[in-house]
Symmetry: C2
Subunit: 185 residues, 2 copies
Amino acid sequence: MSLEHAILGFLNYHPYSGYDLKKIFDTSIRHFWPADQSQIYRTLARLEENGLAEMERIPQEDRPDRKVYHITETGRAELLRWISGPPPLGEPRSAPLIQVFFSGQLSDEKILAKFEGYAAIMRAILSQYDQVPAQIGPFQQEIPSPREHFFWMLTLENGLANLRANLQWAESVIERIKSGQVPKE
Amino acid sequence: MSLEHAILGFLNYHPYSGYDLKKIFDTSIRHFWPADQSQIYRTLARLEENGLAEMERIPQEDRPDRKVYHITETGRAELLRWISGPPPLGEPRSAPLIQVFFSGQLSDEKILAKFEGYAAIMRAILSQYDQVPAQIGPFQQEIPSPREHFFWMLTLENGLANLRANLQWAESVIERIKSGQVPKE
DNA sequence: AATCGATATATGATTAATCATATATAAACA
DNA sequence: TGTTTATATATGATTAATCATATATCGATT
């Protein structure tokens, strides 16, 4: 359901094709909701079936017609209903924490390497975040009013806050490993 | 794949039935990897098919036989291989952030209510975390050696760190809304 | 000359996870 | 007396998401 509403959110700004939407996703909300190309197309078809969007076929020569989707009044109402509603919390899932849970099986050196690798990944992702705002460029005219831009930045802030929390956690674990605070048995 | 390895991790401590494992999941790693009962049973069957676990049928009267699963040498090797390997990072997914991204559509009052609701949920979950260590009771003899307990606590710490980061983020947004820092258009 | 990337949509196959429901009995509880 | 809880496993149906692949053409690069 989340992808449906994310697409409705963008169609509420402007009519787009599936191809457009894939690029928009990759340059805006990818950091908290990546979307597969095939899933976008299928979801657009479902939105049309359910009367939340309408398709306009734009003929082209030498390549497939563009199918541009417009949000309907029903779609706009559904979008607002959903945004106003309670936060759609999903179950938390972190496969790396499964590794951590069972890491007692490993030697202290391997555990240290594991957490240093984890910290390195967090730092690498953190450094990518700096570049994200620059990527919005291509869509600057269509999407972000100052108000919209504010909320977009809040999602980046949230991602950064979580990354920093994870990095600090990993660093504190590294310190404890180095100072011999991991029980031997 | 993650569930397979989590189950292998527990079977490596001790042989268990699917019924046992469901209770163990719910009192230990539920906060970062919840598992459905039916999925546990199907995954156990697959572990056996693949030679990573062996099933021992324990007859009972008046109720279904227990099917207790023992990890095999292959299973133990696979578990160690996986734990030693790179962190299995998944794509981040946060449906609440989709709401945030499109919240510019709402009035400032509704936005304030939304973030206050979000902060309230974070606080409620935080208070639940205090009780988690008490729930391990029933399995104290079988699972946690001091070393294992240390890593189990690390997963709790990580969950807490992320919750606090999210709560602080929500609180900082609330302050900005109250002090009129949200652009009007 | 051949490959690659951009434009554009589409479908088949598979996986992981969820939800609902089924069977069967005993003990405890209201 | 009837309901719930605990014990124990199992399957069918569905959803969301991923992966692979197909079609078709142009322009740019190697």
